[in-house]
Symmetry: C2
Subunit: 370 residues, 2 copies
């Protein structure tokens, strides 16, 4: 596996296209989140942080989050869960459904080595994991995912969710752990009042579901949700006790487009090289569709200031230079539109302290996760 740099290298020695983490900014982001959502004291009912590792897929980042008080991590795939357990993380919530028997078997096996739970929105998920856990001789946890506005996975809040929770509670090899109540689409609502209204409605749905659970004699130990765009709202709202923000470690151009964006810094950059200046007023860099995710718009150009990323093809990015100038071989620094799928395109994160490479972090279970 070709590495983009060696520890101790200067920025000029880092191969491109690659991903840089500005460690000073990254650590300030971790500190800010730890101050906003402090580690709970034993027995405390305070809202806890369980950050999502789908953003970074790095054991080193997860360990830094847990060291600052996170109660564990969220993952989105079984492959991420396996990578985190291998990296010593002991409490893992898979905020997604498992619909395949082989994957259920792998997840059930993990329960022998760590505290693990995943989600269900269908009786089939319950049956699959219960069967796999019986085979593995383990008892993984399971949460009911409810749809609080995202319109993706999740049963309807209320009675239907309580029925599914009862199915989990009855399953001999599973442990009912609580509710997954994530409003993903609220994260990027541009206006703070819209975000507030979306989370208030989600809180009502979540409360109604907790009532429905109590009516059938069940308690939710975990009530999880929230992302970087709204976590302060869920923290105040009442029903949630675990916040699942992930992007705050790196941020991205799209979060920057929110009005009153979350108070974190851009700590993730794509480093590219100018490969052509043949067209007047334009430059071409070596970072295109295979190096940057474009689902949330174009990357921002940090260096050289004044240039704008205009168009991507597979291995090329076309910049309009504006007042900037660039020569072949010069470096360009970009902020990706969306951090999670951009990280997933790379094998390594190059962790920089100023101009010096301090560490190389491997992106585990890179990609969609087999």
């Amino acid at each position: 596996m070709t590495k983009p740099a060696s520890i101790g290298d200067s920025l000029a020695q880092v191969a491109t296209p690659s991903l840089l983490v500005d460690l000073d900014a990254f650590e300030r982001n971790l500190d800010r989140m730890a101050a906003a959502v402090p580690a709970p004291s034993p027995g405390s009912s305070k809202v806890r942080l369980r950050p999502h590792v789908k953003t970074h897929k790095c054991v080193e980042v997860a360990q830094a989050q847990v060291a600052r008080g996170a109660v564990g991590v969220c993952v989105q795939t079984v492959a991420e869960a396996e990578a985190m357990v291998a990296g010593g993380i002991t409490d893992i919530l898979l905020t997604n459904e498992i619909a395949d028997p082989r994957r259920a078997a792998r997840f059930a096996a993990l329960a022998a080595r760590a505290t693990v739970a995943c989600c269900a929105d269908d009786a089939r998920h319950v049956a699959l994991l219960d069967e796999a856990a019986a085979e593995a001789g383990t008892r993984p946890g399971m949460l009911v995912e409810i749809d609080v506005g995202q319109g993706r996975c999740g049963v309807a809040p209320g009675r239907k969710a309580a029925e599914l929770a009862q199915a989990i509670a009855r399953a001999p090899h599973l442990r009912f752990r609580g509710l997954q109540a994530y409003h993903g689409s609220a994260q990027h609502l541009r206006d703070p009042d819209e975000r507030r209204a979306a989370i208030a409605a989600a809180a009502d749905e979540t409360r109604a579901t907790l009532d429905a659970l109590r009516a059938v004699g069940l308690e939710a130990e975990i009530v999880g949700g929230a992302g970087t765009g709204t976590f302060a709202l869920e923290q105040q709202a009442g029903p949630w006790n675990e916040l699942q923000a992930g992007s705050y470690v790196f941020m991205d151009a799209d979060y920057g487009r929110n009005t009153a964006p979350p108070a974190f810094e851009n700590a993730l950059f794509v480093l590219a090289t100018c490969i052509s200046t043949a067209r007047a007023g334009h430059a071409v860099v070596d970072a295109g569709l295979k190096a940057i995710a474009f689902d949330s718009g174009m990357p921002l150009v940090v260096t050289p200031p004044g240039a704008a990323y205009q168009k991507a093809s597979d291995e090329h990015g076309s910049l309009e230079l504006g007042p900037a100038s660039l020569a072949v071989g010069e470096r360009v620094r970009l902020i990706p539109g969306h951090c999670d799928p951009t990280v997933s395109l790379h094998e390594w994160l190059v962790a920089m302290r100023g101009d010096r490479v301090e560490a190389l972090w491997q992106v585990r279970a890179r990609g969609a996760g087999l």
Copy 2:
């Protein structure tokens, strides 16, 4: 490295999300291209095929292309060139510029093991590779890239290109090999008349540049260009002698949107699993932004027929079911919008003969290519 399947597995045993190659369709595509652009007899002046491996990044596919008469392959990155040389491909054209001294050193070293050439559109590219070749004791080839309408890399056709060719010819450790004249944006012009006009204009620019070369005493041994959308036009037009089509092996949804699309079949599919049907009329699959490229639009749903892929998030794809039905755990087969960046998201291609896994092909130098 987790593999999505084992040889001999049935389709039901293939993990998701993964990439399937329908070997029967794939081989018909190879055969059709070999019939359209046959292997040249020795000394023939006929137009040759030099397919682009940036589509598939697989040694096995490149070998099948060469076995059917391709004179060599095109690559887009030094990492792809290294992977192809390691896989026994002996004639490689890097259809891109090298702007970094370490990368130039790696490319110059390859020239000791294979016939290699890359492109230049700036004197800096020439100086970098000449210096690296002197150090390596090799003499790689170099082509001048001209901009024939793409508006990306490439010097202006004509005199300016001839001056750069002279710089290459004067460089003691380089070999001037010819012109790179690729009109990328013409491939996806929807209307055949528009494509024809774009390639006719590109042919004029290329001819004018060949005249300018002759005026300074230089001949282009290679005149390369063309893609899957236009290669029959370049084949007829005159100035080109090498066709660089890549996507024809797999095709994709976007090429299908051309009027009079190229006569190849979809041979590449994303296999996904339905993970949720909680929302009426909708289903969620486990293939989103980290498994499929969306730069050329939504994937098409092949199975179940009638469903439409509506929206992607990182690990989820939301389908509108229409007349179709799906249950949790059932498989979904998709045609990606754009094959090249979709392949680059995966580590393996699962080569299927009907319902049986016949081979696993590794996607080499996956990603943007360090």
